[in-house]
């Protein structure tokens, strides 16, 4: 058993980093869907925008990373606000129109980013102080990923606490469960929706800034992370932070440990896992409120 653990330790730690990265994406997608029934297919674009920000601004110094984070935050706020405003007139017109609109926006944004940054993948270096490997139980492992796990883990805990333990979080949860009832109590749910949209977008762009050294920006990355976070959301259940976290960690392991254990089935694992969950429990593993 220890031998097995030792052999796959790197894969498992990779999986945790991967999963936490997916969480920063999936939580926004999940809440926006759970609250306003909006299938935001431009969510991957936000990650890509953040990752390109990191590429453009990070020069290996701490200041560069800080600057990238601040700019990423602003990009996320603007992008989220823009998307929320774009989707607002479509209230009550069903998922298909929202999907078409956000996919259209994603296509336009992707093309614009290709025009600015070119069509190649741009490897992004972490701050030089973190750009080395350390020894973990006898395995050499990139330090940046460990730091990323710590930071993203902190973000996840904060988001979880804010969602489950604060009064604002209670309001958000209530809006997911029954929007009309919340509105009846006198709350302007549009503000809640806008706030959650912007919050999810900021998390996605910040995830992009921090995740750029792990999933480097390039054309097609937006689709890839979108599909991955959709899978996470579907597995975890819509509108639940806990579901998004557990789903993200699960998919992280499937994508790294699973692939290491069953290389022959690698392309099938991700969607096979999703299919299994959907068929056994169509509402997701940790669904909250209405499914």
């Amino acid at each position: 058993m220890t031998g097995w653990l030792d052999a796959h330790l790197v894969s498992m730690v990779d999986g945790v980093a991967y999963g936490l990265l997916l969480f920063t994406l999936a939580v926004g997608l999940s809440l926006v869907f759970g609250m306003m029934d909006v299938l935001n297919l431009a969510h991957g674009t936000l990650y890509l925008a953040g990752a390109y920000t990191a590429y453009a601004l990070s020069d290996g110094s701490w200041l560069g990373l800080l600057l990238a984070l601040v700019v990423g935050l602003v990009v996320g706020l603007l992008g989220g606000g823009l998307l929320a405003a774009a989707v607002a007139p479509l209230q009550g017109r069903g998922h298909l129109d929202q999907a078409a609109l956000t996919l259209g926006i994603a296509l336009i944004a992707a093309e614009v980013m290709v025009m600015i940054f070119g069509a190649q993948v741009l490897p992004t270096a972490p701050p030089s102080a973190l750009a080395r490997s350390v020894s973990v139980l006898g395995h050499s492992y990139p330090l940046y990923r460990l730091v990323f796990i710590a930071v993203a883990g902190l973000i996840a805990v904060l988001v979880y606490l804010a969602f489950e333990r604060s009064s604002v979080g209670a309001l958000v949860r209530a809006t997911v469960a029954d929007r009309d009832m919340v509105r009846a109590t006198g709350v302007d749910t549009r503000k809640v929706l806008f706030g959650v949209f912007a919050f999810g977008a900021v998390l996605a762009t910040v995830g992009g800034v921090l995740g750029a050294p792990i999933i480097a920006p390039g054309p097609g990355v937006d689709d890839r992370v979108l599909v991955l976070s959709l899978v996470v959301v579907v597995i975890g259940g819509l509108g639940s932070v806990r579901g998004a976290l557990l789903g993200a960690l699960l998919i992280g392991q499937v994508q790294t440990l699973g692939v290491a254990l069953m290389p022959a089935f690698a392309p099938f694992l991700l969607f096979g896992a999703m299919l299994l969950v959907l068929v056994l429990r169509p509402q997701g593993l940790f669904a909250l409120g209405r499914a």
Binding site: F33, L39, P89, L90, R93, H95, L96, D97, A99, A100, L101, L103, G104, I105, A106, L107, I108, A109, A110, E111, V112, D223, V227, L230, V234, L238, P267, F268, L270, F271, G272, M274, L275, L278, V279, P282, Q283
Partner: protein, 345 residues
């Protein structure tokens, strides 16, 4: 209804729908216009029309599930791929006869949909969408993996020209291939139109509008959902076989997520639920991607994106969504329009 004898609740007498004369004439005119295409345009445009017609058949398949039965799908490319590979394999190893390829490909699609359908129809709405997405992605991965059958990521090339009529030569000419695809697409359109006019088609609409009530009346809704899924799978596979015959090359990229997504978007642009809308949407999408995309030096995704955004805002019900929204876009006389706008529901 005049035959009901007593005052009891009248039994639902079979509704005799009159033969759709106007629609038939319209379809005839459109087919005539399409038949003139090879005489009017150059080879590239004709080839684009061929691709658009194949895509229109796929869009009808997506629309049958999404628009008619109310089950939005992102997985039809998988059955499209089953049809394309089956058609290609039959052509390479067995017979270059078109009818045989079409029939066998459609059968393969039906079998594939019968096997996977019971999984898919366990969910409705977004859950169904996600299950079909998973099926589509697994199909895509499988096509790249099963090297011995599908040629892996290299794809299948060397598909012989399709023979439309036994005893004649294979179709190589761009215009003749176009006519082959046009004939099959028209047959597929008529088959779908007949399906929609049948009681089965009406039941599918009921599935979309209120599944719970339909079940309460005694319909086994899951069986109907599965039947729709199988019909749509066969139709998508038919389109796949047309694709293999017209392109003479099949690769995993032909059944990727993009294909499913574009087919769904074509349906949305055309008008969810309308078959001619789906066909027109497919035409618009293919021409935006291939034709305008080339005019504007390869910015096809940008143009497609603009198309979708504009369509969602300006034509909420799609191209086929009725005259009122077009009138709103191009108001001729304000006062008159306001009078007409008040239509009792």
């Amino acid at each position: 209804m005049s035959a009901t004898s007593s005052g009891m609740t009248p039994a639902p007498a079979p509704v005799r729908r009159p033969f759709p004369v106007r629609t038939t004439v319209l379809v005839g005119v459109v087919v005539l216009l399409l038949a003139l295409v090879p005489w009017t345009f150059g080879a590239f445009t004709v080839a684009t029309f061929t691709r658009a017609l194949v895509f229109a058949v796929l869009a009808m398949s997506v629309n049958l599930l999404t628009g008619v039965a109310g089950m939005p799908t992102l997985g039809q490319a998988a059955y499209f791929g089953v049809g394309a590979y089956t058609g290609a394999l039959v052509a390479i190893h067995w017979s270059d006869l078109g009818v045989l390829q079409l029939v066998l490909a459609t059968l393969a699609g039906v079998v594939a949909a019968l096997v996977t359908g019971p999984l898919a129809i366990r969910g409705r709405g977004v859950a169904f969408l996600m299950i079909t997405l998973a099926i589509g992605e697994i199909g895509f991965s499988a096509a790249g993996r099963l090297d011995s059958v599908t040629g892996g990521t290299d794809g299948l090339s060397g598909i012989p020209p399709v023979v439309a009529v036994p005893g004649t030569e294979g179709l190589v000419n761009e215009g003749l291939i176009y006519y082959y695809v046009l004939v099959v697409a028209v047959v597929a359109y008529l088959a779908v139109a007949m399906l929609l006019r049948s009681p089965f088609g009406l039941t599918l609409r009921g599935l979309r509008d209120n599944e719970g009530r339909l079940r309460a009346v005694g319909y086994r809704t899951d069986s109907y959902a599965l039947a729709a899924y199988v019909y749509a799978g066969g139709l998508a596979a038919l389109a796949g076989s047309l694709w293999a015959s017209s392109q003479r090359f099949v690769a995993p990229g032909d059944l990727g997520f993009e294909v499913s997504a574009l087919a769904l978007l074509a349906v949305i642009v055309g008008g969810v639920g309308s078959m001619w809308g789906a066909c027109l949407g497919a035409l618009v999408v293919v021409f935006t991607q291939d034709y305008l995309g080339q005019l504007f030096s390869g910015h096809a995704p940008l143009l497609l994106g603009l198309l979708f955004v504009l369509a969602v805002y300006l034509l909420p019900k799609g191209i086929a969504g009725g005259r009122s929204q077009w009138r709103r876009l191009f108001p001729r006389e304000r006062s008159q329009e306001d009078d007409e706008a008040v239509t009792p529901v």
